[in-house]
């Protein structure tokens, strides 16, 4: 059994002191331990941004790629070796901005991945610009008069795209988040965990306090996560009250189950060479 301590990498996180990313990292390590994953059979794929430095801080395999593309990379890794537990770390810009189309497609494909999105409603690493999830009127360097675009609602999008595990966590509640990630890892299919993650440097509106005042645990309200219509209602809730926890959960065939080639075992472990002579014969 791996402990969170054993999962600590030698690299020291360089996030700002007090950043929500620290508690997400702690929760990820805790969840990997709780779910009983073997580190060498775990792979964390990330894109670009503050969030995406996370793979370097966990002693598992990792892939720190390019902006917006962790989902296609992770999808192929999972299909190429489905014995691996693949966790995707992304941010609101990475996943819902530049990588939005991959997000919708990964959800509809129901790839067996755990997708954790550090959602701080701002671009942090590029020093404070508006993000797809910034609230209407939100002022940044690029929106000095306030954002004029309505925010993207990732949970609603995931539901519309046929998501099978749609949830929200809060970096200010690491115990809850850790449990949520365990559920996500155990889920067969794509598990979306959108995490409210305060950026303590560039977002002076959506602070720990701001989220804390609004967040409430759905599990305490009798919400039925198998009720899609109820989930749609809860996914829209964003104001004085914001639900956290599992909004929707359902079992559906996963992407890898639909690939005939994988029935013979992980693709990466199958013999390489195929016989092309019958194919050549067909051209004669």
């Amino acid at each position: 059994m791996t402990t969170p301590e054993e999962l600590r990498a030698t690299t020291i996180p360089d996030w700002c002191p007090g950043c929500g990313d620290h508690s997400i990292l702690m929760s990820v390590k805790g969840a990997i331990a709780d779910a009983g994953l073997e580190p060498h059979k775990t792979l964390i794929v990330s894109g670009i941004g503050c969030s995406s430095k996370l793979p370097h801080y966990v002693k598992t395999y990792g892939f720190h790629g390019i902006h917006g593309r962790p989902l296609p990379i992770a999808t192929a890794i999972k299909l190429s070796n489905h014995e691996l537990n693949v966790i995707v770390i992304s941010g609101d810009g990475d996943c819902y901005g530049i990588g939005m189309s991959h997000f919708i497609h990964a959800v509809r494909r129901n790839v067996n991945l755990t997708l954790i999105v550090h959602d701080n409603q701002i671009y942090g690493l590029t020093t404070g610009q508006t993000s797809p999830t910034s609230d209407l009127g939100f002022k940044t360097k690029t929106t000095p008069f306030g954002a004029v675009e309505d925010a993207v609602r990732p949970l609603s999008l995931a539901l519309a795209a046929g998501g099978t595990f749609v949830s929200r966590g809060f970096a200010g509640n690491p115990k809850h988040l850790r449990g949520l990630i365990v559920e996500g890892i155990r889920h067969k299919g794509l598990a979306l965990i959108d995490v409210m993650q305060p950026c303590v440097t560039f977002n002076r509106v959506n602070t720990f306090e701001w989220y804390r005042q609004r967040a409430y645990d759905l599990a305490q309200t009798g919400h039925d996560p198998t009720d899609w219509m109820a989930a749609v209602e809860k996914a829209r809730e964003w104001g004085d009250k914001i639900p956290i926890g599992i909004i929707y959960r359902q079992e559906r065939t996963t992407y890898e189950e639909l690939m005939p080639a994988l029935q013979a075992g992980p693709l990466a472990k199958q013999p390489l060479e195929g016989d092309i002579r019958p194919l050549m014969e067909r051209f004669i």
């Binding site: 059979k41 002693k59 395999y61 892939f63 720190h64 999808t75 189309s101 390489l272």
Partner: protein, 588 residues
């Protein structure tokens, strides 16, 4: 590739044309296969606009007892399934050629509408014959092919065999109906005595069985032979047929084939698969490759083996979506930001497409670099008869891919270890004790992100050190034709075929010309290229682009420039006769 000898080689050229939806593609393939089954060499080209129905499609088939690798401008037999084909292509019919058309689908006063026709008109009631046979209107093409084989006095059995193998797979009754229709067209021209029947080509008895396939087919077979298990792509002409081929063989070859949301996903997925240890590839055309460009650098920085296929079509932008050009060489040579080692190669025919695609996978994995295979509309979609590929001695080389045992014996494993040859041993995710993070940010040998200038320099040098060994595996340009010629054609990629046939035709006229052809363009094979170029007296560059992109590369790498440049960028490949004339003119 064996060269046709210097004796006059008779090439029969047949063109079939009509609207999209008339079955032009199938017809062209049937004609090509009929000739191939008779032991003849064939080479084809297809021209079609970017639409589904209507428009104007042509399929040209050149056949010869000798090898034929370039398309001819002139045709012996024109099969016009519509009026437009007749009007637009009459001037291409040779003196003594024949123009076959549907009697009732064409205006009655045929002669008036085609005053330039130097050949004979052969009206055949294609529609009536189809009606008599109670066949589908689209079967006019089969009747016409039958009639064509009749007027050139070519043994019907070869056409029948081609039809049976094309349609018989689906449904024998379809095959029978088509054989019947073709036979009716054949009999009509023979029996009615209304047109001249002339033996224009003879089968070659005892010739070896040859495949009839495209460059894309050859690339796909080369990839499968190399152990490809993952293929992801987004449809884009002229690369799409690779995707179709892979999808059709997904189950039998145990592949994962994915049509993705865009080319970015296609390339990133292929990188992901390769990272997990699966040989993968992504193919596209120029526009799609623009989207894949960022991933090329990702493969380089993470040192993930990666094979791209860039099948060119004319740009910029959408350009001519279904036409031919070689305008992306300079783009491929430097695509993606930053300095890194890559391999760029451009096969010139089916054999090169097959063997060098296979080699591309070995190079990608041995050196952990991206490899870009450049094709183009002409090579990708032209059918050429080719001997079944000889698979002897083809060995998959996975380079420094570690086993679990090797990894266990390496306590302080560093994924990006600074080695003598610049290539670091590669552990695969899932292996015990190899845990590391592949990193698109520059990094330490461990994979951890690095910002230190000394480490940055060291790791850049490490990645570039791969060149020292890689360059030894890069074949230089190949010289074809007579040694010590007065003039040398210098070309690359798919221009090889038309240049070869133009050279042979000039040699037959007594002109002293040979041909220097480049397949590998990066890393540039400087030494062998210089050796070959030193032997030349007068060089003529032939390229299908506006700015002589190979010449730009020669100037950069060797401070060498060709003496004369022949360029073409009208969206069509070179025809042999006008190319030969231009080379002759350049020599004057």
């Amino acid at each position: 590739m064996a060269l046709a000898d210097e004796e006059g080689s008779e090439v029969l050229s047949v063109m079939i044309g009509g609207q999209a939806g008339y079955g032009i593609m199938t017809s062209g393939e049937l004609i090509a296969r009929s000739f191939s089954r008779g032991g003849l060499h064939v080479h084809t080209d297809v021209e079609y606009p970017s639409l589904i129905r209507g428009g104007h499609n042509t399929y040209q088939i050149c056949a010869s007892a000798k090898e034929v690798s370039g398309i001819r401008e002139k045709v012996d037999v024109l099969i016009a399934l519509d009026d437009r084909t007749l009007r637009e292509h009459t001037t291409e019919v040779k003196e003594g050629g024949q123009a076959l058309f549907d009697l009732y689908a064409t205006p009655i006063d045929v002669k008036k509408s085609i005053p330039d026709l130097k050949g004979e008109v052969v009206p055949v009631p294609l529609s009536d014959i189809v009606k008599e046979k109670k066949g589908d209107t689209v079967m006019r093409n089969t009747v016409a092919i039958g009639a064509c084989m009749g007027i050139i006095d070519y043994d019907f059995s070869y056409l029948e065999s081609a039809i049976r193998s094309t349609f018989g797979k689906k449904d024998e009754s379809v095959a029978n109906a088509n054989v019947d229709a073709a036979r009716a067209g054949y009999d009509f021209v023979i029996d009615k005595g209304k047109c001249s029947v002339r033996k224009r080509i003879s089968p070659v008895p005892g010739a070896p069985r040859r495949m009839v396939l495209t460059g894309n087919d050859s690339v796909a077979l080369g990839a499968l032979k190399a152990g490809l298990r993952w293929y992801s792509a987004y449809p884009m002409t002229p690369a799409s047929s690779i995707l179709h081929f892979m999808a059709a063989n997904e189950k039998s070859m145990g592949l994962v084939v994915r049509q993705t949301e865009d080319e970015i996903a296609a390339a990133c997925m292929a990188i992901g698969a390769s990272h997990a240890g699966v040989r993968s590839m992504a193919a596209t055309s120029g526009g799609g490759f623009c989207l894949m460009t960022e991933s090329v650098g990702l493969a380089a920085m993470t040192e993930t083996p990666m094979v791209y296929v860039l099948s060119q079509r004319p740009g910029p932008s959408t350009g001519l979506a279904t036409r031919h050009e070689q305008g992306d060489l300079q783009f491929a040579l430097d695509a993606s930001q930053g300095d890194f080692v890559r391999v760029v190669l451009a096969p010139g025919d089916n054999n090169e497409a097959f063997y060098h695609t296979f080699k591309a996978f070995n190079l990608a994995e041995k050196y952990q670099v991206p490899v870009i295979i450049i094709s183009d509309r002409y090579l990708s979609e032209s059918l050429t008869s080719t001997l079944p590929f000889d698979l002897e001695g083809m060995v998959i080389d996975r380079g420094k891919l570690m086993t679990e045992e090797e990894l266990a014996a390496t306590p302080d494993y560093l994924r990006y270890e600074d080695t003598d040859d610049g290539v670091s041993p590669r552990a695969l995710p899932g292996m015990k004790g190899g845990m590391y993070t592949a990193n698109g940010d520059d990094h330490y040998e461990s994979g951890e992100t690095n910002e230190d200038p000394v480490v940055r320099t060291k790791l850049m040098d490490k990645r570039f050190r791969k060149l020292a060994r890689l360059i030894d595996e890069i074949p230089g340009p190949k010289m074809y034709g007579p040694p010590d010629a007065d003039a040398t054609i210098v070309t690359w990629g798919s221009c090889k075929g038309p240049c070869m046939d133009a050279m042979l035709s000039l040699n037959r006229k007594g002109l002293s010309v040979n041909l220097l052809h480049f397949v590998y363009l990066k890393p540039f094979p400087r030494r062998p290229a210089l050796e070959q170029l030193k032997k030349t007296r007068f060089t003529i560059g032939v390229e299908c682009n506006r700015t002589s992109q190979l010449d730009r590369l020669l100037r950069e790498e060797l401070k060498f420039s060709v003496d004369k440049k022949i360029r073409k960028f009208d969206g069509r490949p070179y025809f042999v006769e006008p190319l030969a004339a231009r080379v002759e003119e350049a020599m004057a």
